[in-house]
Symmetry: C2
Subunit: 304 residues, 2 copies
């Protein structure tokens, strides 16, 4: 089994990313917009096969194993993979559910997410990134921050997810910059790092005031022609600063790894480094793939 062809899938709400591997070597990567949000239960297998058909080489072997993480395992997904409960190790193949398939050649394993009872919290997909990071950093003990639409702060110790908290920061940024009155005052991609860091520091000192600091961006835009790139950077800094104020018990005096896509991960790193916190940066997509590889390896242990 070690050198067989297999498929790794990161199945999100709005997208799916798929890798074709031979053993641990990546042969190809493809993606589509067939996220869980746009599929009915019957639509997952066709969406998977459509994307596999786009691969440059047809996967070899009599059976084709697929390891998937993310929203495919949610209640509205392909097959519900019930949450593991923290504190726990990131779920491995033993906790995965098998998705129902018509094509007898496919063996589809969907990894569960992780839940926390109090305060109530959930993740689906990030646990696999944590598993990937731990596979590459076996003795890591500390905090993993996963910035995104719903940023997660995860406390990891002795290979376990001990506790975590999710912040709506990224989704608030998207809604405020694209759909609120502030859309007139910010541009699409400008970035002024000094303005960002000043806003982080301001909001950390006075987090309650963020809702009025946000409106001040609009007022300064009207009254003083505030630069839209500065406005965008301050908007991001205010929201991230508010999050850092609340997440202080997670990061203060801790060993931090930030796993994320380049732009947002760099922003979090910069904000944390400005607080004097040393940060390790790792690419989220690579961690997902490493996590799926680790899940497959855990199946081999069961099989062997």
């Amino acid at each position: 089994m070690a050198s067989e062809d297999w498929i790794a899938v990161d199945w999100g709400t709005s997208h799916m990313r798929l890798w074709h591997l031979r053993g641990s070597d990546v042969l190809a990567k493809v993606h589509s917009a067939d996220g869980m949000g746009g599929l009915t239960r019957d639509g997952f297998e066709p969406a998977l096969k459509k994307l596999i058909a786009e691969l440059p080489q047809e996967p070899q072997g009599d059976v084709l194993r697929v390891f998937a993480c993310g929203m495919a395992g949610s209640r509205q997904g392909w097959a519900e993979a019930p949450y593991a409960t923290a504190p726990c190790t990131p779920p491995s193949a033993a906790e995965a559910v098998r998705a129902p398939v018509r094509d007898g050649k496919l063996l589809v394993h969907i990894l569960p997410g992780v839940k926390q009872t109090s305060p109530a919290d959930v993740m689906r997909g990030e646990e696999t990134q944590v598993a990937g990071f731990l596979a590459l950093n076996k003795d890591f003990d500390g905090i993993i921050c996963l910035p995104g639409t719903h940023t997660k702060w995860v406390q990891v110790s002795a290979g376990e997810i001990v506790s975590f908290r999710t912040y709506l920061t990224g989704e608030m940024f998207a809604l405020l910059s694209e759909q609120s009155v502030l859309r007139h005052s910010v541009n699409e991609d400008g970035w002024e790092n000094d303005a960002f860091l000043a806003a982080v520091s301001h909001a950390m000192g006075r987090p309650a005031g963020v809702a009025s600091d946000l409106f001040a961006l609009r007022a300064e835009s009207l009254l003083d022609n505030l630069d839209p790139a500065v406005a965008r950077s301050r908007l991001s800094g205010l929201l991230i600063g508010m999050e850092l104020a609340a997440a202080r018990p997670y990061w203060l005096g801790q060993n931090i790894a930030v796993l994320g896509a380049r732009g947002i991960a760099n922003a979090y790193c910069g904000a944390l480094q400005a607080q004097g916190v040393p940060v390790t940066l790792a690419d989220a997509e690579r961690m997902t793939l490493e996590g799926l590889k680790a899940a497959r390896a855990s199946l081999q242990e069961i099989v062997t």
Copy 2:
């Protein structure tokens, strides 16, 4: 002029409300969706005449005076009415601008808004509600809170708007409840006052944590089937509690009047009363009309 027919208009971004008055008596009220946001500069006079034509009685007289407040006076409006600068009395007829009209019978006065230099802030329309409240409460000294999409806290003393701050709270509530992941967890109109007040108190004590408390609503909905009416009330309470924490210097130990539409004004009153603050409630629409009457009365003083 005292008993002439005239027109009062509250011209917002998304709507216009129009009253037909004879002296100080209201003969009729009509409204339309012809807000500033959907009109080009040439579209204001036709939109006004269209709504006047819907009145049950045609206004009498050789000329027809119109007093308008709100976004019709913005840079993208009918005619820009430059902001007065706080501290100042609410703008009167002397500061109004005359809108250009084709119909020689119309005399259109547009009242300006008020700006503040530091921290930068602006209002357009609320200053007229403040004027209306002061016309009815001549010796009021204290804080006027105007809840809405962009809630304003206005410090009033000796008839002047001394300072003010705007909070994006209402717009954040709309975006989060209608467009974020929380839309799956809240319903459209449920209300649980105890859950609201508990969330206000929670957020006042720990305002930085609101972005994670918001995600917890989603998690509790997934894990514990949280009642959507409770979720909606907590969402509102978290955002208003965060605002009250920041606005504390405005309301603590103060004389407070809340001017707003019934639902949201009641929520703010309840939240403030729970902090032991005595509150006077007044209807925002009525205050707008009283403010436009006061502006017309100030014109009579000039004319006389």
